[in-house]
Amino acid sequence: MSPIAVEVIIFLIKAVLIINGLLMSAAYLVYFERKISAWAQNRIGPNRVGPLGLFQSFADVFKLYFKEDVVPKLADKRFHLIAPVISIGIAIGVYAVIPFGDSFTVNIGGAATKIWLAVTPHVNVGILFILAMTSLGVYGITLAGWSSNNKYSLLGGLRSAAQMISYELSMGLALISVLMMAGSLDLTEIVHKQAGGSWNVFFQPLAFIIFLTASFAETNRTPFDLPEAEPELVGGYHTEYSSMKFGLFFLAEYINMVTACAIMVILFFGGWNAPFLYEALALPEGSPLLALTQFGVMAAKMIPFLFFFIWVRWSVPRFRYDQLMSLGWKVMLPLALANIAITGVVMVILKHFGIIS
């Protein structure tokens, strides 16, 4: 086989694995959300389908598939159809650049081939790509709101557009201080820079808190779920969606949650770095087992964040709209800007005394 064919086949296998993995993780995230909410409200939660209710999400998906797909008569049919597709497509598209580990080497047709644990590894503008994709995510929600031809949907869509633009700014600015320390936009490179326990969260706690808050707003989760605030807007932008079209919005929300957690782990918590673990295992460089361990470490680090997302949803009430806006523009934006200035000054001082290069 020619090298380019091998590349393409590896790429396709990785893409299939990541898409299916994501859909599965989203399905189980829904299950965990229901279980944790039940725990928070002194209930039992789903326990009928399969052992401990583990197959509940699949039952839900099949139910959604077999439901009638109602499209409002006066809706804009084209945009009503493509809005959920945009949402889910962009949610999954971000994973093109997210790495889950280093590389491992396998023998394909007599040639040692390095396989990276990312669909497209070492993208020079990795973080910018993620920001660009997430900034497009707003179209899915806004178009859904507009095309439904429903006042509540439209209000939900407009709210989401305003909210996502506002919080994207603080999110991007919070990232800049991390990038200043890493000196690279390549996600794999940023993880390597944090080797040996020098995780960015210890140096940039403020940036982490701003990023965490902004990612709650970007994923439209409580306390920032104003685009779909039930008491005010019925169901917000997806009021007029039914069947699997609604299911796609639902899936996209959970995949966005996984994305936010993955980015937080990569940027602030050292990605697949773990103290003492790799020294203790002493696996050879490039072995598939090492790559698998790295993937495991990364996944294990993401789980507490996912729990945190769900936990917050069931403990914190929703913001009011003006509170949301003043928090974004008057608190988080100045804090993020100040953080950049402080980081810059400290870096210059440290460089002057030769502590960092």
């Binding site: 503008v125 910018l128 660009a132 900034s135 179209y139 557009a161 994207e168 936009l185």
Partner: protein, 168 residues
């Protein structure tokens, strides 16, 4: 045919089609979304020219921020289908056609004049498009113009705030 040429062909066709659809759409939202698609394909074309940073920023700034505001405004004002655009087609059509013909003439002249080596990227262009190289150039060679532009933008923002909100 190399992969780059093939990609460029696909992107160029989509770019032109979405550009035409932007102008021809009766529905303002459809028009705006065509423009978003157009920006997206432009970013793809930048990528075939090895300009990764510009490509990412193109999507981030134009498609992700500016067009969201445009769509926001269209929805907020609930702009109807081609409001009053057909009232006086006279001078608009004439000026528009004249400008269009001039543009088509220029594009055609450039496209059909053969300059040797125009379709080949200059050596080292794989490096010039990266964020590092761009930053070096921008903050070392063109620092003053860069700061001047940022000052200009600041003045524009202050002006917009003053015009929009007289009582603060």
């Amino acid at each position: 045919m190399s992969v780059t040429v093939l990609l460029f062909g696909i992107l160029a066709v989509v770019a032109v089609a979405s550009g035409i659809s932007t102008v021809m759409s009766r529905n303002p939202v459809a028009s705006a979304m065509s423009l978003v698609l157009h920006f997206f394909t432009l970013a793809g074309i930048y990528l075939t020219l090895q300009a990764q940073f510009i490509a990412a920023v193109q999507v981030l700034v134009y498609a992700g921020a500016i067009m969201v505001l445009v769509v926001f405004m269209i929805m907020l004002l609930n702009v109807g289908r081609e409001e009053q655009m057909r009232e006086n087609p006279g001078y608009r059509t004439i000026i528009g056609t004249a400008l269009g013909v001039m543009l088509a003439f220029q594009v055609g002249k450039t496209a059909f004049t053969d300059v040797a080596g125009r379709h080949v990227l200059p050596p080292g262009s794989a490096v010039t498009g990266t964020t590092e190289a761009l930053g070096e150039t921008l903050f070392k060679m063109y620092l003053f113009p860069f700061e001047a532009v940022s000052l200009l933008l600041l003045v524009a923002v202050v002006g917009a705030v003053i015009l929009a909100k007289r009582k603060i």
